[in-house]
Symmetry: C3
């Protein structure tokens, strides 16, 4: 599926941009910014491939690395503009996580993991890049603290696994479950929904 | 050995509880709490399996994941009680690390690592979950700073490797070396023993 | 090549010393100091081997672990002297990163990665140990913030890959590209050169 590959590369490109923008203002130098962009874009997929014991995607397809480099250059060149069009960035970012979730679930299912484990792989692929990004910046990972981000991925991953179990056509499933993630996240951000925070009571 | 499997699951359950309790009060949401519980319980074993290049235990046995979920739910439901019975928790926790140490050494020996390396795998399995937990909360890992925790695991792991070398029955060895860890840790906590802290003099 | 193996062990020894010295003054105990020394010396190579899906070097050659232990003991015994001869330490450290970079590139090329990917493996091998060291101490990794360190490794790695592509003798290539890294880093430190820091303008 050419379109899927295109979306995958787009996701890497967008995540690299968002990584670079996050790195700015933290007194990181260019190299640090590039590393943050790299792990934001490819860290989740790398952990997924390590755990599944398959070839790391960016080692066998260096195109992924070139997309990161392109994303970094683009973000450096158009930083001011990008900071102004946060809403467009949010759109790309949401497409990115929706797609990464489904691709992670798919890759796990291809390697015959149990269904519940495939769901976890969707989550890892979509969220772990951001987790490493935050750890490298010595911040408590954002997705542990707010946004419904991970919950949206979780619901979409479960949806994909269930529809897959009932032999729904993969492309249809991808579109349905991916859209579900994008819609839930968008609604959550608009309505400022969040998960309950753990405290003395809960 | 059914009893060993039972203890292993119990260890995961207890570590998940302790991870969730640690996460509380750090302004993490439910998802963050679950991730902290997951890595506390399964992080050490995951790194061990990655380094040994064997199948990740929780991927092929999803029961481990269900034990984490059960531990999280249990901890959420009985938080107040659990915070009151810290001593019981300490007991479970000590059983957990004793067992994780020995299981880590065993798994390494099964894959024919040198004896010194098997000892390191015992340490990794028992301590690394807590290390990732602390890094995700952006704290310097607890076991690098206090408690004789890791030292107890080290001594027990060496004991297991030595007795294994002299062909002592595995079950006897497990009980002896595991108890050694539990006893050293308990004495250390009661007597408030710690390793020397690195400073200008040492 | 006996000389190469000697340099490799020396690099591990020196990195372990520098890890231990970094750990001092952070209120870490002996165990914590040892772990920091271990990951500083062997963390980069471990990640490289994990990603390439080959046996982890220190598991099959425990000599690496013994070099770490030796480095820790040496650093503890001669801490005062070592703190006084920072320049000598810098020399060893520079030899270490130069060598680790080239060894990382070589190992990747042996496993037929694309050339651009081999360059990344040189960087990972040379820098990742320091990155984990800083994360474990909850600091933003040093090499993301200052020094031309990583850039020197990058240039040397590219040099090695290009000369390798043109079938230059490996030993000659090692000496040329390795020296290039050492020279660039030394000049950068003497002249206090750094990469531009990411901020609102760049």
């Amino acid at each position: 599926m050419v379109f899927l590959t295109f979306l995958d590369y787009l996701g890497v490109f967008v995540f690299a941009m968002s990584g670079l923008l996050t790195a700015s203002g933290k007194k990181l130098d260019l190299f640090g910014g590039f590393i943050i962009a790299f792990v934001t874009a490819l860290g989740g997929g790398t952990l997924r491939d390590l755990l599944l014991n398959v070839d790391i995607s960016w080692i066998i397809k260096p195109n992924y690395v070139y997309m990161v480099i392109a994303g970094v250059i683009f973000a450096l060149a158009f930083k001011k503009v990008l900071n102004r069009i946060r809403k467009t960035m949010f759109l790309f970012d949401t497409i990115g996580i929706s797609l990464f979730t489904i691709l992670g679930v798919q890759k796990a299912l291809e390697h015959d993991t149990p269904l519940a484990i495939a769901v976890i792989f969707g989550l890892i692929t979509a969220t772990f890049g951001g987790v490493i990004r935050d750890i490298l910046s010595t911040e408590i990972p954002l997705i542990f603290r707010k946004e419904i981000y991970a919950t949206a991925c979780l619901i979409g991953a479960i949806s994909f696994v269930v529809l897959h179990h009932y032999d729904i056509n993969e492309t249809v499933n991808l579109i349905l479950s991916g859209s579900l993630i994008a819609i839930i996240r968008t609604i959550a951000v608009i309505k400022k929904l969040g998960l309950p925070v753990l405290n003395d009571k809960i």
